[in-house]
């Protein structure tokens, strides 16, 4: 097969086939286009202001390493005027985080950025190893997820930084959209699609500049730029549900690569239907500044699981999908129905009944933010999730000591 030439420069050999549009690009053009697209996301959503101090949530993995590298490049190229700092969380998992933290330390030197590490042990008095020793492997991701969320905020506060960027990519967002869809949690689905989270009350805002970047391209960017990243799996068992969603996304990508960004955009469109929740997305679609969604309580965990899905489970899902396809003819044309209802003069946004979570007890359409009475951290309940979990853990520890 004759080597294909780059569709952009038409001189170099194409090495990359882009999942979003099948464009064949050479290494240099791919790197340039990848960076330009992140720059576009940043400027069109007005993510930063000149002189802003920004913490990069850094795990040493591919996503945060690429984020740090790209932000450094763009900050210098386009004069963002950002003061970038790496912020790492030490969950206290021997043989996992201690190794990846070494990568982050090297990154700090490579990118000439200061590094701050905050540990679960210093913040909560518990390492994840101790948590797992107490509660077992089942459900430990919940603890880790809740603790990490707060730990990033607290680390940022220690550094007097009000903005944390994370390496969440398009595949991660698609995965979360799918999970919330499958759980029937439209309120959380809406929040998870937003590029910026944290409302005006919260002291630290979060954003995901790689929200529209394919995981595949992130890995290829890291490969072609020879970035130093760490890849291993958390030694504690990953969440089965997230794993299944991830496996499904990857299988869909194989047959239809555009599916990932399509799911992200579907999520954004669905978010617009949720009353009181702000749509996200780029300013080129009309909005001046990316609206902030309330902080996403991604209790689900770290979003860094490999889908260790047994093949038969995926095969079952695949079969289901094929059956659904066969039933396609039975579906109602939603687009048509909606445009008809618009023509009949209904309001722009209709109040749809929203279910939140999986039961009546959690059926709160919108979260009201307050502060935790125990630790003062922002929380929609009297006692924040982290303090609730800690209370349970500390009771267990007391029992063990007796």
């Amino acid at each position: 097969m004759a080597p294909a030439l780059c569709a952009n420069c038409k001189t170099e050999r194409a090495l990359i086939k882009r999942p979003k549009n099948h464009a064949k690009l050479c290494k240099a053009c791919f790197i340039a286009v990848f960076e330009d697209e992140v720059h576009h996301t940043i400027t069109s959503s007005q993510l930063f202001y000149p002189g802003e101090k920004v913490a990069i949530g850094a795990s040493g993995g591919k996503d945060s390493t690429v984020l740090a590298s790209v932000l450094k490049t763009l900050n210098e190229r386009h004069g963002y005027g950002l003061d970038l700092v790496l912020l790492s969380i030490d969950e206290g998992i021997k043989g996992y985080r201690d190794d990846s933290l070494e990568t982050v330390k090297r990154n700090a030197a490579q990118y000439d950025m200061p590094l701050k590490v905050v540990g679960y042990e210093e913040l909560y008095g518990w390492t994840m190893d101790q948590v797992v020793e107490t509660i077992g492997k089942k459900g430990n991701c919940t603890y880790c997820g809740v603790f990490r969320r707060q730990a990033l905020d607290r680390g940022a506060k220690m550094l007097e930084i009000k903005h944390v960027v994370t390496g969440h990519n398009a595949d991660d967002v698609a995965e979360t959209v799918l999970m919330n869809l499958l759980r029937g949690d439209l309120a959380r689905l809406s929040r998870s699609t937003s590029i910026v989270t944290g409302d005006s009350r919260s002291e630290v805002k979060r954003s995901k500049p790689l929200k529209y970047s394919y995981e595949k391209e992130i890995v290829l960017y890291a490969h072609h730029k020879k970035l130093d990243y760490f890849s291993t799996e958390c030694i504690y068992s990953p969440e089965a549900f997230r794993g299944s969603a991830r496996g499904l996304i990857k299988q869909l990508e194989r047959v239809r690569p555009t599916a990932i960004l399509d799911i992200v955009r579907s999520g954004e469109d669905m978010a617009r239907l949720v009353p009181g929740e702000s749509p996200s997305s780029c300013a080129c679609k009309g909005q001046k500044r990316a609206a902030m969604a309330p902080a996403e309580d991604d209790v689900g965990g770290c979003g860094s699981q490999n889908g260790r899905t047994p093949g038969n489970e995926m095969a079952a899902m695949d079969k289901q999908l094929r059956e659904n396809e066969a039933n396609e003819g039975l579906e109602i044309d939603v687009g048509k129905a909606m445009s008809e209802s618009k023509m009949s003069g209904s309001e722009k946004q209709r109040d749809l009944p929203i279910r939140s979570g999986n039961g009546a007890s959690k059926a709160v359409p919108r979260q009201v933010r307050g502060n935790c009475k125990r630790c003062g951290y922002m929380s929609s309940q009297d006692i924040c999730q982290a303090c609730m979990l800690l209370e349970g853990l500390n009771k267990n520890r007391a029992q063990i000591q007796i």
Binding site: L15, K62, S231, T232, R246
Partner: protein, 110 residues
């Protein structure tokens, strides 16, 4: 294996990264001498290489982390001499002497 097929082995390098190295003795780069033809006498392709790696090189019993339903697991990228295998014919690509084949997983977090 007959002397003829042994003589007709293709020398290549195979790299594993993104977490896949753990399935292959925690080693990133392997020099592989690949039989030039498969059992039915057809030239060695990527599909044949994948099967060959599972049979001869993988040290870990969790083959499903590398191969699902006889194909490379979705989420694992294959680069042939640094080019996306989608540009080279994927599984049907016929392996040439001194090729470098990289398998990189996108599935592992940090």
């Amino acid at each position: 294996m007959s002397a003829a097929t042994e003589a007709a082995a293709i020398p290549i390098t195979v790299d594993f990264s993104g977490g896949l190295e753990m399935l292959f003795d925690n080693q990133r780069r392997h020099s592989v001498s690949l039989p030039a033809v498969d059992a039915s006498g057809k030239p060695a392709t990527i599909a044949f290489l994948i099967d060959h790696l599972c049979r001869t090189l993988m040290k870990d019993p969790r083959a499903e982390l590398f191969v699902l339903d006889n194909h490379i697991r979705p989420g694992i990228l294959v680069l042939i001499n640094d080019a996306d295998w989608e540009l080279e014919g994927e599984e049907a690509y016929e392996i040439q002497p001194r090729d470098n084949i990289l398998f990189v997983s996108t599935l592992h977090g940090g």
